[in-house]
């Protein structure tokens, strides 16, 4: 019979090749942002270009085939744009599209870490928070029938019947009694873990266009992916602001457009309040990320922002990241102000994101510090 390690070996090779392809194309994936739309719970579907073996074959222009069933000439086969294959197994034409592979977010983070050479993060603070998990690893004498452990029950009954002399090897019928029954049960295990919260803040004033928001969306996907691989528990919070700030859910975050002015301090104040109220320093690693086009209402407000950062936010955060996306309307001033005040501050990371191509380097800048 087949030796199981054989296919495992080939499977491992396949995975290696896939991984190599993903690594090689990571910059493209980051630029196109198409992965972000294909997320399942713990996996992403990644389209891999051409992993098939090239053979001489006919072009797709003149294909078609033979089908069977009801219908008149000119009727649609009703299969959408994808179109049917070249008559199943007749001919050995494989689809010319690449394949889509499932990659777990952990693995993707690993690949990303290797390719971007990201340092592992040493979680700050103690691992105080404990999560309690139930594991069905115990056995009890009582329980619901649905959790009955057949093997254990059988063994108990066999033991009893042998010891009482009821067991007949020629007619080995085992009948469990009530006392023989064994049931699976759970044990509680608690695991210490380190937690992190990302607070995304974004300027949604009129000058932030769709393209700018798309860039923020792609960045946030990769930041999430990386930080999730570094911390057991990861919270994400979302704050949008124009002249005032409010907390929203992820979906609203990426799809809101306001037309008011811009007061960045409003967002920083709200973020600070959330951190102070819900994420005590000892238990949480805090990552505020702020994205804007660099326009702020007034010099006074900018001054206030700097004060909040210096006195409130920075002491409570692992690092503070500011990404400035370029928009035709923004002055791009804010990053200069930050540079002036915190240029030599280790935990303040600034990145200018001119266009999609810059996402790759920007992520490297943000996450490259290992804080």
């Amino acid at each position: 019979m087949a030796d199981h390690s054989k296919i495992k070996q080939d499977h491992r090779r396949f995975k290696q090749i896939v991984r190599g392809k993903i690594k090689g194309n990571l910059r493209d994936y980051m630029t196109q942002g198409e992965l972000t739309g294909k997320q399942g719970k713990d996996i992403v579907k990644i389209p891999i270009p051409r992993i098939d073996i090239p053979r001489f074959r006919y072009g797709t222009k003149q294909t078609g085939g033979v089908g069977q069933g009801d219908g008149e000439v000119g009727d649609s086969l009703g299969q959408g744009e994808e179109g049917p294959g070249q008559g199943q197994e007749v001919g050995n034409q494989e689809g010319d599209k690449g394949i889509e592979v499932d990659v777990s977010l952990d693995e993707l983070a690993e690949i990303m870490g290797e390719e971007l050479e990201l340092p592992k993060i040493e979680p700050r603070g103690t691992e105080k928070l404990e999560t309690i998990k139930d594991k069905y690893s115990g056995i009890r004498n009582i329980g619901p029938e649905s959790l009955k452990h057949f093997k254990r029950t059988y063994k108990e009954a066999l033991k009893r019947q042998i010891s009482t002399g009821e067991y007949d090897p020629d007619n080995p019928i085992i009948i469990p009694m009530r006392d023989d029954k064994r049931f699976r049960s759970w044990k509680e295990t608690s695991m210490p873990q380190s937690n992190a919260v990302i607070i995304y803040m974004m300027d949604v004033s009129g000058s932030m266009g769709d393209e700018q928001k798309e860039i923020v969306r792609i960045e946030s996907f990769w930041i999430d992916t990386w930080l999730r691989s570094q911390y057991k528990g990861l919270d994400s919070r979302f704050i949008i602001h124009d002249a005032t700030a409010k907390e929203v859910d992820r979906d609203t975050f990426f799809h809101t457009r306001e037309s008011g002015g811009t007061m960045i301090s409003s967002a920083y104040k709200l973020a600070l309040k959330i951190i102070e109220d819900e994420y005590p320093l000892e238990d949480w690693n805090v990552y505020p990320f702020h994205f804007s086009d660099g326009d702020n209402w007034s010099v006074d407000d900018t001054g206030e922002c700097m004060a909040i950062l210096r006195d409130g936010m920075l002491p409570r955060s692992n690092m503070f990241c500011y990404g400035q996306v370029e928009s035709p309307y923004g002055s791009g001033q804010f990053i200069k102000d930050l540079e002036e005040h915190f240029g030599d501050h280790d935990s303040v990371v600034l990145s200018e994101i001119k266009n999609r191509e810059a996402i790759y380097d920007s992520i490297k800048t943000f996450l490259g510090k290992g804080l």
Binding site: I7, D10, G59, G64, Q68, E72, G83
Partner: protein
């Protein structure tokens, strides 16, 4: 795991029925496997031991996933070998298993008796294991990267074989003794007084010309366009020992699998015909009929834009049986225009069973369709051709005409739907470049894929490689010199 008693008894019973019906299979060894083992064996193309290669891993991942998602599971697998091996999926219900066992016996009968399988290696399980051992040895010596990369290269070329070559008998020496040489021209031996009639002057001139042509040709290399590109490479490419061995392994396996591709419709049709016949006539209990009908309907299901070889094959075999039972063939039948007479035509010949056995022995999919697909059958089975309509952006039914359907089917089956490629010149431009020729029959090559294949060819030939073809109705020469691709316009001369 070998068969548990109840399956073994079932197998014995079905085998007996199959033999009674006249099926003549190899001895068949059944094993029961769980789905993980089944997926693994299927990933290896049916063989438990193959050479190591990533594509088996890819195959496995896809099979495992579609099983987990409940999209599909493999019911049966059977290997052309003597004895034959077949695998049953553990946990299938008994009617499933009966269906599979009967189906398998018909496949094995087909392997054993169909002419196109007659040259296949019947000890292929051993041979595959042997291939695996050889490749593993090369992996140990040269590393997996290098070996796997070269296997990829060879696989790119594995459809460049001549599916007919196993059957070609080279001209025997006896023929040549019929001729004798006079003034360097072959003459047919004849008595003196007959000589000028048997070997007239014109004939001798013709022979002379033929000789000249031959001489001309023998300076070319190869002298005739060679369809077995893989063999040409084996014989003439500068290959290291291990490279040549791997190329020959891939070629041998390609030839082994070829008849299964050549007879897909017939083989599945034959197996489906017999599983239905054996089960419904002899094996099933009344209580099992509904389950069987359910399974069978799944196997026979058709969907738009897909041709189901099981369905087409079984219907065609049944149609043949019916026609030969009723004598609906031959000159008289063909020439009859009287619809009513045709509808009620029955000469009560009862030759149906004999005829389908004859067909399974002598035909392959192409000849099967070519000879037995009838206008009535196409209409009755609602076959149609389809294509992509650019205007509407939809896949649409193109035609329900008999001729169109038949031609499309034959087109797809010819050369397995692969383009015809020949080696035309192994010393192209007198620079030891390789020139391939695409025999254009109305459909263009996919140029992207062609580039990939040229790269693989270059890896083997180690000198620039070229292929001539027709593209946009103009002659084109696609070349690869190891670093760059070029394309130039040429005069395309069909060969």
């Amino acid at each position: 795991m070998s068969l548990p008693l109840h399956l073994w008894e079932m197998k014995e019973q079905i085998q007996e029925v199959a033999l009674d019906y006249g099926l003549d299979p190899f001895e068949t060894i059944f094993e029961v496997v769980d789905y993980a083992q089944m997926n693994e064996i299927a990933a290896f193309g049916g063989f438990p031991t193959r050479y190591p290669h990533w594509r088996f891993g890819m195959e496995y991942e896809q099979l495992a996933k579609s099983y987990e998602y409940g999209l599909s599971k493999i019911y049966e697998m059977v290997i052309n070998n003597d004895p034959s091996y077949a695998y049953l999926l553990e946990g299938n219900n008994l009617v499933d298993q009966k269906t599979v066992i009967a189906h398998v016996y018909a496949h094995v009968d087909f392997f054993k008796n169909n002419y196109f399988f007659s040259k296949t290696n019947r000890k292929m399980i051993d041979e595959m294991a042997n291939h695996g051992a050889r490749v593993r040895r090369y992996v140990d010596r040269h590393g997996i990267e290098l070996i796997e990369d070269f296997i990829d290269t060879c696989l790119s070329l594995d459809n460049l074989i001549d599916y007919h070559s196993p059957f070609i008998e080279r001209r025997s020496k006896d023929d040549q003794q019929e001729e004798e040489m006079v003034d360097g021209v072959p003459k047919i031996r004849a008595k003196d007084y007959m000589d000028e009639y048997i070997n007239p002057q014109e004939f001798l001139e013709l022979q002379k010309q033929k000789l000249l042509d031959q001489e001309q040709k023998s300076r070319q290399f190869p002298s005739e366009p060679e369809k077995d590109v893989m063999r040409f490479l084996l014989e003439h490419a500068p290959l290291e020992g291990w490279e040549s061995d791997i190329l020959s392994i891939i070629r041998e396996e390609a030839y082994y699998f070829a008849p299964q591709g050549q007879t897909k419709i017939m083989n599945e049709g034959w197996a489906s015909y017999w599983h239905s016949k054996i089960l419904t006539q002899k094996v099933l209990t009344d209580a099992e009929i509904i389950d069987f009908a359910d399974i069978n309907a799944g196997v026979m299901a058709t969907s738009p834009g897909r041709m189901n070889p099981y369905k087409l094959g079984v219907e065609l075999f049944r149609d043949i049986e019916d026609r030969w039972n009723k004598g609906r063939y031959g000159k008289e039948w063909d020439e009859c225009d009287d619809l009513e007479r045709k509808t009620n035509w029955d000469r009560e010949l009862g030759e149906g069973r004999d005829q389908i056995f004859r067909v399974r022995r002598l035909y392959n999919d192409i000849t099967f369709i070519d000879e037995f697909l009838t206008e009535e059958f196409v209409a009755e089975q609602k076959l149609y051709t389809f294509g992509y309509n650019r205007k509407s952006g939809r896949w649409e039914i193109d035609s329900k005409q008999f001729k169109e359907v038949k031609n499309k089917l034959l087109d797809q089956l010819t050369n397995f739907g692969s383009p015809f490629i020949y080696v035309k010149d192994g010393n192209y431009k007198n620079r030891a470049e390789l020139l391939l020729h695409h025999k254009h029959m109305g459909t263009e090559l996919d140029m992207n894929y062609a580039r990939g294949v040229l790269k693989a060819l270059h890896r083997v030939w180690k000198r620039p490689v070229n292929i001539e073809t027709l593209y946009d109705d103009k002659g084109a020469l696609l070349s690869f010199d190891g670093s760059d691709y070029t394309e130039e316009a040429i005069e395309y001369e069909p060969i």
